[in-house]
């Protein structure tokens, strides 16, 4: 996506041509973003649809972002996924979705399953991060799971870069294995 001129983001909510251009430039990345977090192909389809619906709704409020529309898009995608994880009753929410799963055929499901399988380890990492405080987890997630730079992650989360660096450091520290405590010799049972 990077290195290519982007369509004017603020018009993609009301300009079909601009939206099509934006969608084609980013749909693969959004799908990958979702499959790094979700292992159900039907839910992947729903959430991919919901990310772009959110993009359509939010486009008019776009005010630029470090890293351009890509980081803005990551911020939206992350909010959509986070909202999904917060929902306690999935069935209730299903009624409000575009129901992207409705658009899936057998080939799509096979293809998404391949992608889901490929990201199995990444999803494991993503699960590990859930124990971290939200702010720290968000930065580490975008950097370690999605491959964004710290500056891009800061832009996606709408925080300062120095804040992102501090949070990233704390997150990494928290994930380090606890140091092995030396055992006093008298407690060693031989």
């Amino acid at each position: 996506m990077s290195g290519r001129a982007e369509p004017p983001v603020r018009s993609i909510g009301t300009d079909p041509a601009a939206f099509t251009e934006f969608y084609r430039a980013h749909v693969d990345e959004v799908t990958r973003f979702v499959t790094r977090r979700v292992a159900d192909p039907q839910l992947v389809a729903d959430l991919t649809a919901e990310v772009f619906l959110a993009v359509i709704e939010a486009a008019a409020r776009y005010r630029g972002s470090f890293g351009g529309p890509r980081t803005w898009l990551y911020g939206i995608a992350r909010n959509v996924i986070a909202a999904e994880f917060r929902r306690s009753a999935r069935e209730q929410h299903a009624e409000t979705l575009m129901a992207g799963r409705r658009l899936l055929d057998a080939d799509d499901i096979d293809r998404l399953m391949e992608q889901i399988d490929a990201f199995r380890q990444v999803r494991e990492l993503h699960k590990m991060l859930q124990a971290l405080p939200e702010g720290e987890r968000a930065v580490l997630e975008l950097v370690s799971v999605d491959g964004l730079t710290v500056a891009e992650a800061a832009a996606a989360l709408n925080i300062r870069q120095v804040t992102a660096r501090v949070r990233l450091h704390r997150a990494r520290q928290a994930l380090l294995p606890a140091p092995v405590q030396p055992v006093p010799e008298e407690e060693v049972v031989s």
């Binding site: 290519r4 079909p16 693969d28 799908t31 619906l53 009624e95 658009l103 899936l104 998404l112």
Partner: protein, 239 residues
Amino acid sequence: MNVSELRPPCGFEDRLEAELVKVVTARAARAARPQRLKRRAAAAMRRPAARAGVLAVGTAVAAAAGFAFGPSLSHRPAAPQTAPSSAGGLVHIRTAAFTVDTYPDGTVHVTWDKSQYIQDRQDIAVLQQALREAGFPVLIKEGVFCQGPHDNGHLGQGGVGPGVGQVMTGENGPDGTVVFTFTPSAMPAGEELFIGYLSPSQLAVTHGQPGSVERLVPTGVPLTCTTQAPLLPHSGAER
């Protein structure tokens, strides 16, 4: 860069693109509507206020849509005419059978005498058009009941399908009227509300339970429709 430089997506992503473009196109149409309606409203205000046969058309919406709110619409007595609204984009319609009003919060309120309303097919067509002009996607039929390809046909109490309560709520008003509030912004993308009113002969079977069926149905795909009126569990109706 133009669109042709990007590889068109295939499979699910291609179909999703088509659905989303519909959403954007609809938004573009809504965004353009206020200016168009203002021009129509101005034109309507220039016309003679009391045209023969006009029951009450509060906005340019109905006028521009070519509705003939006159004796040909209904044989029922005409309702009192109301002052037309000059607010662009708003809909205020008074007919003998029902009223349609948009509110600043975006909701659309419809009041009607249901027992009269469902006896007049032209009223149904006019109401459907009025709701659509007010920004609420709806498909209304009489004696025919439609559902989407993935709808299991389940109906809750009162003949209402899943999700309908988010976009439409109703309550009994005074004098036997029914007041419904439609919320266009709550409508899931790519869907519309289907309303199927039972015909008089069907009502005779169900005894008004239900008197109508409401479901959310997908747009742009063929619907499965039947003239078989739904029979709700524990409705007490006989067949």
